[in-house]
Symmetry: C2
Subunit: 211 residues, 2 copies
């Protein structure tokens, strides 16, 4: 088995994407959505995402345009932040924020009887920056984004709506899909996660940085 420890990660990634493409068979995806679907499958080994990922019209183009202009990414977990290629994002002028562990966020959430995820979205809205939201954990974050959009307080460049779970997750995703003017990439159903959110961010970033 010695040879297994001497394969380079870049070769493994290329070969993995070949296998994924083979196994997807005759399934085809729009040119700019394909790398996103495939990277999520690469991250999860779960082909269900080929069916569950839904994109609003032009979502990828709008997100790429925002990233080119230095848009930042806001995550709802430090795990999601940890999985995003921050060096590649920085080369485009962007950075990643996660406010979940901030003291002011904890205080605000406790004071208003809500979640830190909700208070984090409020803090992101107050930044006034161009943001892509990558939500892999908290359905309450998606609900709050929906409310902030309805109130005209925030205009996300993209919402990545992929929380995982059994309670409130499915309706929170459908709420985002119901928005008429907000670009989104959503994993319908229960599945998702911070790893999926990070994979979608990286798939977007790499379309600009790995040419």
């Amino acid at each position: 088995m010695k040879e297994l420890s001497q394969v380079l990660p870049s070769e493994i990634e290329a070969r993995s994407f070949e296998i994924i493409t083979e196994e997807l068979g005759e399934r085809t995806f729009p040119e700019k959505e394909a790398p996103i679907v495939k990277r999520v499958i690469h991250t999860t080994a779960d082909f269900e995402y080929a069916d569950s990922l839904v994109f609003s019209p032009g979502a990828v183009d709008k997100a790429l345009e925002a990233l080119k202009n230095g848009a930042c990414i806001v995550t709802d977990t430090n795990m999601g932040k940890s999985g995003i290629n921050k060096r590649a994002l920085a080369s485009l002028g962007g950075e990643v924020y996660c406010f979940m562990a901030d003291e002011d966020v904890a205080k605000k959430a406790a004071a208003s009887g809500t979640t830190r995820a909700v208070a984090s979205m409020d803090k992101a809205a107050e930044m006034g920056k161009d943001c892509i939201f990558a939500v892999g954990n908290a359905p309450t974050a998606l609900v709050r984004l929906y409310e902030l959009i309805q109130e005209g307080k925030i205009h996300p460049k993209l919402i990545i709506g992929v929380p995982v779970g059994f309670v409130n997750v499915v309706p929170s995703k459908e709420l985002i899909i119901s928005l008429p003017d907000t670009p989104y990439i959503v994993a319908r159903g229960r599945k998702g996660g911070s790893n999926v959110a990070a994979a979608i961010c990286n798939a977007l970033i790499y379309q600009l940085t790995r040419k």
Copy 2:
């Protein structure tokens, strides 16, 4: 939908575990393995883990004993480290290490033509501490652990072998399962991930801290 943003995360977690238990139906698991299987399903919404997770005899008891005695956890990604409840682990006297971004690890990997994951496992072996290894990404980390065990250079308290992927992942997991005297929890097949590795660590830690 306002009410959705006012459910407390602790209530959501409890209700999620009830749903998972309901949907597992008549499936039963050994008492100390059940919380691990359920937390992985909670993290992924993927019931396949009920079948794919395999435990060496007494693995959980041995891991709990090690954690009680302050064993540390070594991960193969900073994302895995990020997902582990470090405050709860610290209350037992343990801490989490990830060497993947260390400069000496990058240099060693480049010099010996191997991966940073391999060099990270070597660095962990050199610490001489009681360690649980949580591998959610790099099959080469599992292969290197196998070699270090064969060479008598390391005696892991537990190997969590749950890398995800399409190349080398399956055989690297079977290699760990082939070890006669090393406690392991492995997700057979392609699936796994840093989120799964962190969920298993937390499920172990919570058996000691959430009594």
